[in-house]
């Protein structure tokens, strides 16, 4: 269990985060410069908050009310810093074993992270991704009671990243190691996170399970941060068991994901690119849209279409191509799945 | 026009007094006799050289740097044993540390000579502490770190406030402590001789005030 309530004023930046997570892995998800690293620094005791309360598994790290401020060396955190912060004068082995006495553990970690052969090298002789793995090994080798990972896989290639996702999850679960993970990769958040905390400009905006928060982000800002791109203004006209039915400005009725809305409420519908269903089904929405642009991407075909004058981006499986209907200028029929059309409160 | 006087530390105050009586402007360079000799050897623009013994005068004479006709003794002083003001010592033998000038400083040579002649050297040899010049001896005694020290009478007079006179060393126990003066070749010889004259013609009483006598 991790509880973080922290206030900290910096010149031109105010941090005011607050979250509590029962899950093992809590992902901090936020745009660049939102205070993620700062939050981790407060938890690790590297930065002293102005006020607040930080507690991990019942151990109070910091509490302005109770006057507690544990020294960093007594917090037992394993911190992977965003810029690695390896000790430049120590070789890989000395860096990794700096905080631990168990050689076997260190050896195992090096093997796991595929940096065994680099034991003797100095940080200045490592590539970016190698440094990142050494930093990860160092954090894990200290046998921490809390893991703080600041973008731990950002410098790794896909294959290795996937492998390490699995391994790290295994370690975290094996030792029931509470973890705060910062990532910019929404798929990584899905893959690793039990809880996702969405932040912006130093504040916590929302929190929830990855899938839940992604499909019901609640507000437009949270949706944007999570990667939603197209929003359509509409009015709720029907609320039933598992759907919210809305009416757009153009009068089109669209079946959407359910949510806590009242009839007549002004809302936004987020059109997720992969909401496209390929077959008509009973529930799907049928839309005739004018295709504006078709782009081949790697695992998908990206179609930009116009819905009531607004650009909507839709992703189709590449196996559909070549598809004569999807040429710029033509009008094509799309079926959108209501479950992938979240409804958001319209903000003032 | 000014006269440059390179003066041994031992007769500093006397020379300054002479300068007050001198018509022209005097520029002094004080140091130990030896160091001054070496500066002159290196071509320092000195006009007058005042040494605490004959040795350094001879040294420069041999190198042909002095106007030989001008070399003459200018003053004479005595050697005395001083002890800290609050000392209860009655004789030099009771002192555990005795400060003297080192062999190079004329004052040290005189002192060693005297100790040897007084048959004290063998006994006191291991209690001697050597100072680079005569004033240092006085400072050590004045601060109570040396139990006794051998200096010129002129220095005793200067440090009277913090030291007391134990005894005056017998005249015969050491070669006379005579200061020499000379004009330097290549310098302003005429002015130099004028200054030396002023020094020679100082009244006896005035010299005694500083602890000196006419040689």
């Amino acid at each position: 269990m991790v509880e973080v309530r922290v206030k900290k004023r910096l010149p031109k930046f105010n941090l005011n985060v607050s979250f509590k997570s029962e899950g093992l892995v809590t992902v901090l998800f936020a745009p660049s410069g939102s205070g993620k690293s700062l939050t981790l620094n407060c938890v690790a005791g590297v930065v002293k908050p102005d006020s607040g309360h930080i507690e991990v598994n019942g151990k109070v790290f910091y509490s302005s009310e109770e006057g507690i401020n544990l020294k960093p060396q007594h917090r037992r955190v394993g911190f992977l810093f965003q810029d690695f912060a390896l000790f430049p004068h120590l070789n890989v082995w000395a860096n990794v074993t700096y905080g631990c006495r168990r050689r076997e553990l260190a050896n195992e970690l090096l093997k796991l992270l595929q940096i065994e052969h680099l034991k003797e090298k100095l940080p200045s002789q490592l590539s970016g991704g190698q440094k990142q793995r050494v930093a990860l090994a160092r954090a894990l080798a200290a046998e921490p009671e809390l893991l703080l990972l600041d973008e731990p896989f950002s410098a790794l290639h896909a294959g290795l990243k996937e492998e390490l996702h699995r391994e790290i999850l295994r370690i975290i679960r094996e030792f029931s190691l509470p973890t705060l993970l910062v990532t910019h990769d929404i798929d990584e958040a899905f893959e690793l996170g039990d809880q996702v905390v969405v932040m912006d400009g130093g504040k916590t905006l929302a929190q929830g399970e990855p899938r839940e928060i992604y499909l019901s982000p609640g507000s437009k800002r949270v949706a944007e941060i999570l990667g939603h791109r197209c929003f359509i203004e509409a009015t709720v006209c029907e609320v039933n068991g598992n759907q919210t039915v809305v009416k757009t400005a153009g009068g089109k009725r669209i079946k959407c994901r359910k949510g806590p809305f009242k009839r007549g409420e002004k809302v936004l519908v987020s059109v997720l690119p992969f909401s496209v269903a390929l077959n008509p089904a009973q529930e799907t929405n049928r839309l005739e849209l004018k295709v504006k642009e078709v782009k081949l991407r790697r695992g998908t075909t990206q179609v930009t279409a116009l819905f009531e004058g607004r650009e909507v981006e839709l992703h189709l499986p590449p196996s559909l191509l070549p598809n004569k209907l999807l040429e710029p200028g033509r009008v094509a029929t799309f079926y959108l799945s209501p479950q992938l059309l979240p409804v958001l409160k319209e903000e003032p | 026009k000014e006269v440059w006087v390179f003066c041994a530390m031992g007769m500093r105050d006397l020379a300054k007094d002479a300068a007050n009586h001198f018509k022209g402007r005097v520029v002094f360079n004080f140091s130990s006799s030896g160091r001054l000799a070496k500066q002159i050897e290196e071509g320092a623009s000195a006009d007058v050289y005042l040494s605490a013994n004959k040795r350094w005068v001879e040294y420069l004479k041999k190198k042909g740097l002095l106007v030989e006709s001008s070399i003459e003794p200018v003053a004479k002083t005595q050697l005395v044993v001083i002890v800290p003001k609050d000392s209860k010592i009655k004789s030099l033998k009771e002192a555990k540390t005795i400060a003297v000038g080192d062999k190079s400083a004329p004052v040290g040579r005189y002192a060693l000579e005297a100790l040897k002649n007084l048959k004290l050297y063998g006994e006191l040899k291991n209690r001697l502490v050597f100072a680079p010049n005569v004033r240092q001896v006085a400072v050590w005694v004045a601060t109570g770190n040396a139990d006794a020290g051998i200096v010129y009478l002129s220095d005793y007079l200067k440090f009277k406030k913090s030291v007391k006179l134990l005894k005056v060393l017998p005249e015969k126990s050491h070669s006379p402590a005579i200061f020499y003066g000379a004009a330097v070749k290549g310098g302003n010889v005429k002015e130099a001789e004028a200054f030396l004259n002023t020094l020679h013609s100082l009244p006896e009483r005035e010299m005694e005030r500083f602890g000196f006598r006419r040689p």
């Binding site: - | 440059w4 390179f6 530390m9 500093r12 105050d13 520029v27 002094f28 360079n29 004080f30 140091s31 160091r35 070496k38 500066q39 290196e42 071509g43 320092a44 623009s45 010049n133 004033r135 006085a138 400072v139 200067k158 440090f159």
Partner: protein, 225 residues
């Protein structure tokens, strides 16, 4: 309790000497320290050792060696004499030379260590951004080594202010001409005039403290050089 004219002169002189010496040492020592820190050249270690010598030699020896070099008969002295028709021995320039030589090793060693501590990659980055070595030196090396170089300047200034042995040998004690504070203090002590010596010591301390404070302030204020 005031300063007599001679003491006052010595204070002014000492300031002049210490400032000139520090300026010379900084101007000559900084490029040398940079070379020693960043380049490999033949006899580098020899140069390094040679610079350190004036620190190891008792000042009197240093003074003596300088006298041999700069005196009227010395190789450099003769050259100066033919060029300018006067020597520098027993002038205030001699005091500057003595102070500079005495503080040079301290400056170079400290400045070199400071420059060596600068991340060499940043120099490379500067080159890739089109800046040559001189530009890079002034905009990257110097600012990043600032603390260390400021410390070196302070040490040099202090050492110059206190230089005694070599000055006495090279410049002599000439009232109203080469009587720097240390020489004047020495003279006072030899005169048994302890009060004057104490006063001059206090003045030295004051100058040193004020200067160190000023240098520190100045270097802290200007974040960028």
């Amino acid at each position: 309790m005031g300063l007599d004219p001679l003491a006052l002169f010595s204070v002014k002189l000492s300031l002049k000497v210490a400032i000139s010496s520090t300026a010379i040492v900084t101007l000559l020592g900084t490029p040398l320290a940079y070379m020693l820190a960043t380049r490999d050249f033949p006899f580098k270690n020899a140069v390094d050792a040679l610079i350190t010598l004036p620190l190891v030699f008792p000042p009197t020896v240093t003074g003596y060696i300088l006298l041999l070099l700069l005196g009227r008969k010395g190789p450099i002295g003769e050259l100066l004499y033919t060029l300018f028709h006067k020597g520098i021995v027993f002038t205030w320039y001699a005091a500057v030379v003595a102070a500079a030589v005495a503080s040079f090793p301290i400056f170079v060693k400290s400045a070199r260590a400071a420059i060596e501590a600068v991340d060499k990659r940043l120099l490379t980055v500067s080159y890739t951004l089109g800046k040559g070595e001189v530009n890079t030196f002034f905009r990257i090396v110097l600012p990043l080594a600032k603390r260390g170089i400021v410390a070196a300047v302070i040490l040099s200034f202090a050492r110059a202010l206190g230089e005694f042995g070599a000055t006495l040998m090279l410049a002599g004690y000439i009232p109203f001409k080469t009587n720097t504070i240390p020489l004047e203090i020495y003279s006072s002590v030899s005169n048994g005039d302890f009060e004057r010596a104490n006063l001059l010591t206090a003045v030295t301390a004051a100058i040193a403290l004020v200067t160190i404070y000023a240098i520190n302030r100045l270097s802290n204020r200007s974040k960028q050089w």
